[in-house]
């Protein structure tokens, strides 16, 4: 390795570490502020305290939003896993025209501006006479979560060796038993990664949820932004730190079960 190459390589590493720190900066700042005693976001904080967590615990606005978001995210992810897996089987195993177009259509909500999708759904649901905010919110979040499942499960199924099922049947398993004991374990990593990312996408969504809220039904990101505008104190930093913890937990779970590198492919 020549000297120029060594310098170039060192430069790449310095830039990469700088990029990594830049990426992590908002998360580190949020956690630091949430444990600080200062109400005006002084960094580094003059003293450490848990007062913002105590205030968060006593908050009457944020917890209902947490439950709304968790409920919607779980239901929308479950819906997407069922519909998305059935559709993926049809696309990979079926013989019908337009399969590629179908996949593109099902993934397209991820590629279009969330705000535009939200507005379209708002007007569409209104025209269809759907007034219930909770139901609208769930249907809208199903549109957000479905692409993650379709994309990942179609990719996993295309790599799955279906002769394994024939082999299992030759060895005496019934068809449903072969599906359950061969196909489902084979797809488990795909279910897991797509489910986790779909769940996080639903939990974090702002631009679509904003059109399906009212005074009683608010998702967490909506309520957080409203709280920041009304009371600018670090209580939102405390709930943000808990959301970061949730993301860390999800990644540890996913990393343990399928490996971190595979998560990067989603």
């Amino acid at each position: 390795m020549t000297a120029t190459e060594r310098i170039a390589l060192a430069l790449v590493w310095v830039l990469a570490i700088a990029a990594a720190l830049f990426l992590m900066a908002p998360l580190l700042v949020t956690v630091a502020v949430s444990f600080g005693s200062s109400a005006v976001f002084t960094l580094p904080p003059p003293a450490w305290s848990t007062r913002w967590y105590e205030r968060l615990w006593a908050s009457r606005d944020l917890w209902p939003a947490v439950w709304t978001s968790l409920r919607v995210a779980c239901l929308a992810t479950a819906l997407a896993l069922v519909l998305g897996t059935l559709c993926a089987i049809a696309v990979v195993r079926g013989r019908f025209p337009g399969r590629e177009a179908l996949v593109t259509f099902l993934i397209s909500p991820l590629m279009l501006p969330g705000l535009v999708v939200g507005i379209a759904m708002l007007q569409g649901f209104r025209a269809a006479g759907l007034r219930d905010v909770g139901v609208s919110l769930l249907i809208a979040h199903g549109v957000i979560t479905l692409p993650y499942v379709v994309r990942t499960v179609v990719a996993a199924l295309s790599l799955f060796d279906f002769t394994l099922i024939d082999a299992a049947r030759t060895l005496g398993l019934s068809y449903p038993a072969a599906i359950l004991r061969v196909l489902v374990p084979g797809l488990a990593p795909a279910f897991l990664t797509s489910g986790l990312f779909a769940f996080l996408a639903s939990m974090d969504n702002y631009p679509i949820s904003i059109f399906f809220t009212d005074a009683w039904t608010k998702t967490l990101p909506i309520q957080m932004l409203q709280y920041v505008e009304e009371r600018p104190d670090p209580t939102v930093a405390a709930i943000s730190a808990l959301l970061i913890l949730l993301a860390v937990a999800v990644l540890i779970l996913g990393g343990r079960l399928v490996g971190l590198r595979r998560l990067a492919e989603v």
């Binding site: 790449v12 049809a90 279009l112 507005i119 996080l200 990644l251």
Partner: protein, 294 residues
């Protein structure tokens, strides 16, 4: 032994595939029906509404929007900010992707984690953090005064520079991951072969590595640009109402101004930009010979 072959009752080639559907295809029906009703149809209605006047199809709302100088300022803001964000992400993301592909063991795990963890945290959390960081007494200002680059503390919050920094931070993983995915597939013997043939490191990079990573760059740029054009949360928190982009104007038109005509028009412009970027970048990435991700 063998009986005369009976007429084979094998699969008859279907003459009308759509009339005699493959039963497996029916499994796609629930997901398709769901998305068509909840998303496809509303999008068509939105398109139809923004392109229809009192007398059928008309471009009048669009023409009216484009005749207003304010609209052009909004479009200028949107495009300029998105281009700056994309440029910052490309410059910061390319070396990071190269390092990610070369790293092994713990170094790779840490780099990968610092890309995926921020990606898994919601945009509201990150935009809120940038609101804290970019204040006059925030750490960026403190650091720049401390190192003597600035004479006095300044506020980056509510400036375009602050917006570009915050947005680049939020969208950087969408640049790093597609480039990383392509670099990982490059045969390491290719640059080595170029070296054996006497190419200098710079020439090797420009003539071997860079062209091979172009499909990744195209998808990354397309991802980040379309995200930056339509971002809504970051500008709301980091720059505020004085600075309008097409996305913030669309949101305001619906949520505060109750001007659905204006909102539908800007929404359809955003939609057209997004579709153009996706279609254009996919075609370009395919032509460059890699599997495009966008």
């Amino acid at each position: 032994m063998t009986a005369p072959a009976a007429p084979v009752a094998g699969p008859v080639p279907a003459r009308w595939p759509l009339l005699r559907p493959d039963p497996v295809a029916l499994l796609a029906l629930p997901a398709f029906a769901y998305l068509a009703a909840a998303y496809g149809w509303p999008l068509l209605v939105l398109l139809a509404r923004s392109l229809s006047g009192p007398q059928g199809i008309s471009l009048a709302p669009l023409a009216q929007f484009l005749s207003d100088p304010f609209s052009w300022r909004v479009i200028g803001n949107t495009v300029r900010t998105a281009l700056l964000v994309t440029l910052v992400c490309l410059l910061a993301g390319y070396p990071a992707a190269v390092a990610l592909a070369r790293a092994r063991g713990w170094g790779q795990a840490l780099l990968l984690l610092s890309v995926i963890l921020p990606l898994s945290v919601g945009v509201v959390v990150k935009a809120y953090a940038w609101q804290i960081v970019l204040r006059r007494d925030g750490i960026v200002s403190q650091a720049l005064v401390g190192t003597g680059i600035w004479d006095a503390p300044q506020r980056l919050l509510f400036t375009e520079t602050g917006l570009v920094i915050g947005a680049a931070n939020v969208f950087l993983p969408f640049m790093i991951l597609p480039i990383y995915a392509v670099i990982r597939l490059i045969d390491p013997r290719l640059p080595e072969a170029a070296a054996t043939l006497g190419a200098s490191p710079l020439r090797r990079f420009l003539t071997v590595t860079l062209p091979l990573t172009l499909p990744g760059i195209v998808s990354g740029v397309a991802f980040v640009f379309s995200l930056a054009v339509s971002m809504y949360v970051v500008p709301s928190l980091v720059i505020g109402d004085r600075y309008q982009t097409l996305a913030t104007l669309t949101g305001r038109a619906f949520l505060f101004m109750r001007d659905e005509q204006l909102g539908s028009t800007t929404a359809v412009i955003l939609l057209a930009v997004a579709v153009a970027v996706v279609v254009g970048s996919t075609a370009l990435a395919r032509r460059l010979g890699g599997g495009g991700h966008a």
